[in-house]
Subunit: 230 residues, 2 copies
């Protein structure tokens, strides 16, 4: 009988947060499996980076292709422009207080995290794992509804009901600032230079999208130079 | 501005329960969109029947192909036998009282309903619909964890957190017996002869799997002859 308690799946996007989450879970003694989603992103860079991170961390991974055919997000709709200003310009902590009726950036993919966690639940049930780790963060974030603490807590309750094995949802970075995530990543020896946060798939990060701005803010506040070339 | 309140998606499997749910929602004045999943079932019969039911009901539908690569269910694993005895032989109402640690039939697809509802949430968000309807039933059912009232309630709470539009999850058949579902189906003029409940994809229902047995019990108790040929 395998030790179900210490086996977990990590949703790995190739970004700084999910890579740090993977290394955090490893540091806590979990045997990790990475799930990487190819969901029709405009570029395949994220997926390639995720694979490199999984290989570097020596964890088995599965790339899961899914299609969200009604995608109305600028991340997957090839006709939509990725915005270059947004909540990333807010001071740390401000985004979390926004009301649900406030505008959400066009980069929001409806239901994306819910779909990802659902597949992770299925994987945990089939492979008898105990936990799903997600790099969701609700401090320096873009205001997506599926990154908030209430969402994570509700999904954790659902997993208990949905599964035979009382699977848990863990979001260890949920209440950290981007600065704290950067510091944690270096402490855990995350291969930060392999991580990719930019919404665009250029040779180098664009430095202008929400995700690049949030990342830059974190490194600036941590007083560390970002090893990902820019 | 479209009336978001009266627009809903129905998860349509081609079985009696989901078809009845569709007609129930229609009878309540909802404008319906059907989501049909092709998820690697051993046979395509369910999907074909679901399409016929959507066409008969004159509701637009989308067939979504998804792959659950770690499938450990006899419904999708081509090497596994579909059992011919199971909870369907229990008297009505008994299955609901079973403890979570009790065996679940091999036909259970881990996380299936969670994945389906997640895609439905995404669809509702993208298309500005108000509700997800599912034909889950927890009386005459096979004991799957993702059909129980606690699961439906937890997912309803999650949808509120996950979405911008406070989407609701509705399972109108949840506490009906199979007999009551059969009677409701005929009252709502569901094209019952088009529905397919059998886990196998033969020319006619096998009459022996859990799903066939539950269906037969419902018709027997309702005193109605099943129009699906057997």
């Amino acid at each position: 009988m395998k030790n179900r308690k210490k086996r977990a799946v990590v949703l790995l996007s190739g970004g700084l947060d999910s890579a740090t989450t993977l290394y955090w879970a490893k540091s806590k003694g979990y045997k990790i499996y990475a799930l990487i989603f190819s969901y029709g992103q405009k570029h395949g860079k994220e997926v390639k980076k995720a694979v490199k991170i999984a290989e570097k961390a020596k964890v088995p991974f599965t790339i899961l292709k899914i299609r969200i055919p009604w995608g109305s997000s600028s991340l997957i709709d090839k006709n939509a422009e990725i915005p270059q200003t947004g909540t990333a310009r807010l001071p740390a902590g401000q985004a979390i207080t926004q009301k649900r009726s406030n505008p959400v950036p066009s980069t929001y993919v409806p239901g994306r995290n819910t779909i990802f966690i659902s597949f992770a639940l299925s994987f945990c049930e089939a492979e008898k794992l105990s936990s799903v780790f997600i790099g969701a963060n609700a401090v320096d974030y873009s205001g997506y509804p599926d990154c908030r603490p209430g969402y994570i807590a509700a999904f954790d309750r659902l997993l208990k009901e949905a599964s035979l094995g009382k699977i848990k949802l863990k979001a260890p970075l949920l209440s950290l600032s981007k600065k704290e995530i950067v510091l944690l990543a270096f402490r855990l020896k995350v291969p930060v230079g392999l991580t990719w946060s930019c919404y665009k798939g250029g040779r180098y990060p664009c430095g202008k999208c929400d995700s690049c701005l949030l990342r830059a803010k974190g490194f600036r506040e941590a007083g560390i130079k970002d090893p990902t070339k820019n």
